[in-house]
């Protein structure tokens, strides 16, 4: 999850710089290249850490190097193979289901907490805010170790609870509950992070709107649905976007749990785990590159849909203009 969000953050901060400086310069009057001096450092880093690896991965994906026989150019064969690879689709289906189940729960919880903190009915708001955010500060690997211990049904916390209760709780690390167990860890880690995004969005809503609502006689729920939620539309989209990318890049949690439950988590559990095992254990760097590019494209498609939810209805033109206005 972490890698996904980090990389996207890079782009979000970078976007306005590149977008707004480039456009006017190239289309108006005489060419003035001085803008490049300002965006230069950013572009250099951007090319080095984002474009270059990407181009290199695409280049790699067009070859096939084997343990015996060496390297050869194979064109799009790796992609053709990946498209019919049931292991790849198995992993992809798993993260897609995870996306549709875990992300709404996580964002719903985050939203609820953010609204609660913003409701002015709580005391010690900053204490709550900090403690809910705290899990995000715990490194993902450590988080999985903590939860891995608690999930232990033989000698872990679940085992102790079973003894205490006198009956058996379901085993988190079993076929039926594994995804729930992983979803729980991810939710625990990222509720605070998303809550903070929502909360800061709520804080940015102009006070006059609330005053106007009060004068109009709006109750708390009416205020939420008519002012707060529309007011944080941007943060909602951003958080959804991060979560979609995070879901498709699911890696840390299942990879760490693989040490505890090696018989449950396959080497192709998620597309990222598949690419990791193919390249670093199976020396299939080329095929892994193709898998990574393909899952990148699929992530992009989902991210695009989430970002323009109305873009796929008849109101396309109208909603595009609203987006422009807000931006």
């Amino acid at each position: 999850m972490t890698t996904g969000t980090l990389n996207t953050e890079l782009v979000v901060t970078g976007r306005p710089k590149a977008g707004s400086t480039l456009k006017p310069r190239t289309t108006h009057r005489r060419r003035d290249w001085s803008g490049w001096i300002f965006v230069g450092p950013f572009m250099a880093v951007f090319v080095l850490v984002l474009i270059a690896p990407l181009v290199y991965a695409i280049y790699l994906s067009l070859f096939r190097e084997t343990l015996v026989g060496g390297n050869s150019f194979v064109g799009l064969e790796n992609y053709a193979q990946a498209l019919t690879d049931s292991k790849f689709w198995d992993g992809l289906l798993r993260v897609t289901i995870f996306l549709f189940v875990q992300v709404p729960i996580m964002l719903g919880l985050s939203l609820f907490v953010a609204l609660a903190l913003d409701s002015m009915r709580l005391r010690w708001v900053s204490l709550f805010r900090l403690s809910i955010f705290l899990p995000y500060a715990v490194p993902g690997v450590v988080a999985v170790m903590i939860w891995g211990y608690m999930y232990g049904s033989q000698f872990g916390l679940i085992a102790d609870l079973n003894d205490l209760l006198g009956f058996k709780l379901p085993e988190p690390l079993s076929n039926s509950f594994l995804m729930v167990a992983i979803g729980n860890i991810v939710t625990w880690e990222f509720v605070g992070y998303n809550m903070l995004i929502f909360y800061s969005g709520l804080k940015a809503i102009p006070q006059e709107l609330y005053e106007a609502a009060e004068i109009d006689g709006a109750g708390p729920f009416r205020t939420i649905f008519s002012i707060k939620l529309p007011g944080i539309r941007g943060p909602l989209i951003i958080a959804t976007l991060f979560s979609i990318i995070g879901s498709f890049q699911l890696f840390n949690e299942p990879q760490m749990l693989r040490a505890i439950a090696p018989n449950l988590i396959t080497s192709y559990f998620t597309p990222n785990i598949y690419a990791f095992n193919l390249s670093f254990s199976g020396s299939m760097f080329n095929y892994a590159a193709a898998i990574a590019i393909l899952s990148g494209i699929i992530t992009m498609v989902f991210a695009f849909i989430a970002q323009n939810p109305e873009g796929f209805t008849f109101k396309k033109k109208k909603s595009m203009s609203t987006v422009e206005e807000q931006a």
């Binding site: 890698t3 990389n7 343990l67 931006a327």
Partner: protein
Amino acid sequence: MKNSHSNWMRMGAVLGASALLLGTMAGCAADSGSGAPEDVDAALQEETTLTWWTWGDDTQEMADAFTKENPKIKIEVVKMDNPDAVVTKLQNAVKAGTGAPDLVPAEYQTIPQLTMGGALADMSEFGIDEFAGDFTESTWNAMNFQGKQTGIPMDSGPMVMIYNQELFNAAGITAAPTTWDEYAAASAAINAYDPEAYIANSGDAGFMTSMFWASGGTPFSVDGENVTIDLQDAGTKKFADYWGTLLTANQLSPVSTWSDEWSKALEQGKLGSLLMGSWMISGMDDYSHGNWRVAQIPSWDGKPASAQNGGSGLAVTEQSKHKAAAAAVLEFMATGTGRDIQNTKGFPGTTAIMDDPAWLDVEFATYDGQKANVEGKTASENVIDGWQYLPFQGYANNIFGDTVGKVLGEKGDINAGLVAWQSDLVEYGNAQGFTVNK
């Protein structure tokens, strides 16, 4: 319009993020030099810094001892998490054409893979073959792949059974089981005595392959680029059938080896026996209060029959620019002071020590004074000949969980799992350019 622009940027980001995963690779050939035994002495007179990767805690001590004897050679020890981390990093360095250390430890099962992949150098030309007689045959051969002697053995892992005598006695078993039938009877007795206690856990890839070996199976055979995989050969199937009866009778613990739960199970007397390499003899201090014992692993007919399980050697990389100096370290670790240090740390792979009364008579408090090294020696003498690992064993073990591990978890049919594993391995081997089962 502004939107579509930013979408392209984002596309770059999403793809870039995926690509970062693969960002460390580049291909180019490594240097290779040739040498001779005379070069080794000459190399010791030159100021050199060697890099030595390790996963063990004792390497620094060995490196310091070497530098004390050879002041011009400095050794930089780089500690990594575990053997897998070393293999991964080494393979990346080979791929990148640079970045490999001079000295690298390697588990015996990864020697074919690393040698074939061009990671390890053939050190025969520096005269290391003269140490062959100092090591047990199975360990020395394990460092050789298709005529290339990549280095020297460090420790070895002839399989023994380490068992919780207290638990066995409480369950009414007075003698250590010597046949698999007796072991099954002990399993049932332990499980009946304490439903939460098991004689063993269901095991991982390293365990399974060693058990096939000890059972007389030879599922893998390699001849050049021709590989034959038969995970249903007589010895393999015999053990798989046997282990399957314990599995489906719910007599194998689901905990995963080396996990926290596994440690707790050992401490609390919920796991009755370990079938492991003899290096584990010195690794039981945390789990035993004198209640454990060491014995031979059971066999089909009661006569000792063992296999190697784990164990590793020290090799020199193809990329090393100081192979002669590295050869001096190999010699130091084979017959010099380094060997003395090594032999006090793990279970040795050298022959001389196995006749040394001082070593044989060591009484282990962990085993209530038992002279446990004697059992290790017996196992070492009874390792079955003829076993081979795949030239891609590391990957094979990594995907073991997809098929065999899955049926172990579901308490299903182990043979079905083995057939599925075989089909994955055949497909992978052929895709990698080997000729597998053709």
